[in-house]
Symmetry: C2
Subunit: 116 residues, 2 copies
């Protein structure tokens, strides 16, 4: 499978970025957190945990995962830590998908020419 193969010619974001990014998005709780932060604005871990079924610590871990993926950023305000969404990495995900789908299209095109 030629792992560590080449990444021949394109601004591939070190693959690891895609791992951590897709991995962060794979959890429904994390997507909910992102959506809530988007609709309700920046919030603290305690606030996010308040209504829900999760412990504050559990929420904190999710926030750290999301931040590790570059999807969140935090800033202190006194004793509070507010998290906000930084959706730039999503462009990375879309790039991979578009590139992949593009290869598929090209393949389809080739097949169409041959089999027609």
């Amino acid at each position: 499978m030629s792992r560590t193969a080449a990444t021949p010619a394109s601004p591939q974001p070190t693959a690891g970025a895609l791992d951590v990014l897709f991995g962060a998005l794979a959890d429904p709780t994390r997507r909910q957190i992102v959506e809530r932060l988007l609709t309700s604005g920046p919030a603290t871990a305690t606030a996010l945990a308040d209504g829900g079924p999760l412990t504050r610590q559990a929420v904190v871990k999710h926030l750290q995962v999301l931040e590790g993926a570059g999807l969140l950023a935090h800033e202190r305000h006194g004793r509070e830590v507010r998290y906000r969404v930084t959706p730039e990495p999503l462009a990375t995900a879309v790039s991979w998908i578009v590139d992949t789908a593009g290869q598929w299209d090209r393949r389809l095109e080739r097949l169409r020419k041959v089999t027609k």
Copy 2:
């Protein structure tokens, strides 16, 4: 967090689909498999495992995960089982991302109006 909250008004694909989809894409080996199937065309698990460091069984499991996410389909040819890419689900992922990024844009717009 109000899990099972609302999914207010949009053809959201049951959330579970996003789980399994993003989860499938989160593994670099699986992405490599998809890319290879796209560039080299349909192949069997044995063929995919041949050059690489993974066992055939490991590859089979990855193929099953990808197929479970709707990204692959298989067809028998005698004693062989060939897998091919079916990238339609990728549109689902892009939809979620675009919707999410869209919310962010709207939020930005709101903030711009208020703070300006």
